[in-house]
Subunit: 414 residues, 2 copies
């Protein structure tokens, strides 16, 4: 089944990838209008999903992710129009170079080709990913969660209709119609797929990264640290800690571990505990932290490695910047790390020695985000080093092709 889908996707992508910016933007606006027009049908399909036994068995937070509303659909339609308004990531060149023999080379941005997406409950991802794919000239094979199959099918039907109306082959967007797990596995091994993106929880991302034989971009696992240096402004540190832990704890750029220099721990930790406890945060402290705030629960080894994604915080007291750097090197996931300090040497070392996508000096880790970074779109936040690192804009869904214009140039023979 997937081979046939891939083959249709390649054929459909060829025309999309060569189309003019204005044609793709028109299709995106048609997709937005179609989502608005079909709101009732989509919501009906979503209610059926929610009524099924699988959905009844979900936790409240997963059910919330699965649930659509007229307001959410309107936001998704607005999002498609916002993507239409972004600059085209395709067709830009690196500038023509002429080799000594007169051969002219230009490296231009082109689509990746066919992208696979494996994701979980949120049907909104179907719309967001479709918009990014169409804008960047790529075809998409979607494999959503079993519990959202009806919602996703309704959305894809609507989006495909709009694409066809705009003059594109609707096979640009295809949904794997069978929820059986083996199709997710097959997608990870679908030779010819240009990229597979897992979107969802850490477990899904790790599984795809480990199992896939097609190219993958890993996104969004963030065990982020805040290090409060001995030369920190403690008011600033507290504001950054609260923003990172309480602002939106369920996201990958939220803080998970607080490291505090021994010299400022007595002044900082009781204050931080008092303030964030009032916000509902549970603390897991090491022995030194608990000596200062005995009410903290004891931290175990598992706490240092854990991405709580919730109102929980691991706390360790460190003797030095070196110890903080070693802790981050050992447990960090290379996403976003922050130091608060007014000491130049400490800040410079932290910037230089921490190996992460984004390293903050006196600012919150919560800024690691495509929209905050001004990229206009959120393809995801890459925690890998190849191809893209940190917040990914539309350019992450493109590659380059070198075009060469000659006049018969040969290298060794004439």
């Amino acid at each position: 089944m997937l081979e046939a889908m891939l083959s249709r996707a390649k054929a459909a992508q060829a025309a999309l990838g060569r189309s003019a910016t204005a044609e793709r933007d028109r299709a995106l606006r048609a997709m937005a209008a179609a989502v608005r027009a079909a709101t009732d049908d989509i919501l009906a399909a979503n209610r059926e999903d929610l009524a099924r036994p699988e959905a009844q068995a979900l936790s409240a937070s997963l059910r919330r992710r699965l649930e659509l509303s007229a307001a959410k659909l309107a936001d998704l339609a607005d999002g498609l129009e916002a993507v239409a308004a972004l600059p085209d990531p395709l067709g830009r060149g690196s500038g023509l170079r002429t080799l000594p023999n007169g051969l002219r080379l230009e490296q231009v941005r082109v689509p990746l080709g066919v992208i696979g997406l494996i994701y979980e409950s949120r049907p909104g991802v179907t719309v967001e990913a479709s918009g990014l794919a169409v804008k960047s000239g790529n075809a998409l094979i979607l494999r959503g969660g079993r519990e959202a199959l009806g919602s996703n099918a309704a959305l894809v039907r609507v989006l495909r209709g709009a694409l066809a109306d705009a003059g594109f082959d609707p096979d640009v967007l295809q949904l794997v119609p069978d929820p059986d797990r083996r199709w997710a596995t097959a997608l990870m091994h679908l030779e010819g797929l240009d990229l597979l993106i897992p979107r969802g929880g850490a477990e899904l991302i790790r599984t795809v990264a480990r199992e896939a034989t097609v190219p993958v971009i890993e996104t969004g696992v963030g065990n982020c640290h805040l290090y409060v240096d001995r030369a920190a402004d403690l008011d600033m540190a507290l504001a950054i800690l609260r923003d990172g832990k309480v602002g939106n704890p369920a996201v990958c750029n939220a803080l998970e571990t607080l490291l505090v220099h021994r010299e400022v721990a007595p002044a900082f930790l009781p204050r931080a505990y008092e303030r964030l406890s009032a916000d509902g945060v549970r603390f897991h402290g090491d022995a030194a932290a608990r000596a200062l705030v005995p009410a903290m629960e004891p931290a175990t080894e598992a706490d240092w490695a854990q991405e709580y994604l919730d109102l929980e915080l691991a706390v360790a007291v460190v003797d030095s910047l070196d110890q903080a750097l070693a802790h981050i090197a050992r447990y960090g996931t290379r996403h976003s790390e922050a130091i608060v300090t007014n000491d130049y040497a400490a800040g410079m070392r932290f910037h230089q020695e921490v190996d992460a996508a984004v390293v903050y000096w006196n600012a919150s880790t919560r800024f690691t985000d495509g929209f905050q970074f001004g990229l206009g779109a959120e393809v995801g936040i890459s925690t890998q080093k190849l191809h893209a690192r940190g917040p990914m804009g539309l350019e992450a869904l493109t590659t380059v092709k070198t075009l060469a214009w000659g006049a018969g140039q040969t290298r060794d023979l004439r």
Copy 2:
């Protein structure tokens, strides 16, 4: 064993990655001097490798790859000095950006970290890869061919000595000392390795790409085509064909298949056959090609997919540009493809529709090469679409890190 090597490599890389350009360049010049000074010892180790039964069993061409000479070592030393003279790929920034809230962001080039290399007989690769790694601030774990183990060990000993003399931790360069195949497999699954590069034959590269769970860059499989359009200058086409097939048939940017438009096949094929037969080329033609040149051997399905890397050429007559494009889409390896035509529309379509790293219009595919492209170094030629595509310079061995300077900025809370 590999975990311990990786841990030592990470520690050694930290200092190398932060070192100044001048220090790394000094180390590279020290490595060059050390190779020159140790020429006798290295050649003695190489003679021992050549005298072992495994080497005696090798084909003549593989023995040639294994064999070092004083001249080859001098070239390798010169190569290290040439790398020292290249611009530093590290430390360059994208230009500071200031967000509306005053947060300042700069994306800077940093090393990948620890790179693994799996390669075959050629001990020269040990020196070339070491030079590129040191220049780009990366540590290297080398896993060479079993038949070259003594030569590689001698080279790595010399290079490590020079690194230590230049003030760097020699664990920047480490050779897997045990030739057992399981260590190659273990390297493909060494969690924490930032990149694994296979260098060698197509089989090695495919195995690594399929099996590895660490990030891989695939290089150098090239089933390259020349399409001679009906509007081609046939003299130009013949020169480009000869250059591509005869100039150096053993390399990945050599031509493997000739596609000729039916209208010019009667004028072109007999000439091409006569000229390239005199060069020693064997032709494998389809029925239409053999109707024009009966002396060609019949081509089988396998010929279209094969990278001969030798004086052999597959030939097909096509009815149209569309048929040529379909053939290339089906059998090409996305490396380098060429058209010869003076027809604007045909050339434009070929440029736009062929999915390959480099697409030539009226020039030889043999220019796909880091040195020819002016990159100054040859990390390899990527045939994948993520991270790097086409000839890779030192920048392909780097990634980016975003540094953020704040004044206490928070996103949601104060």
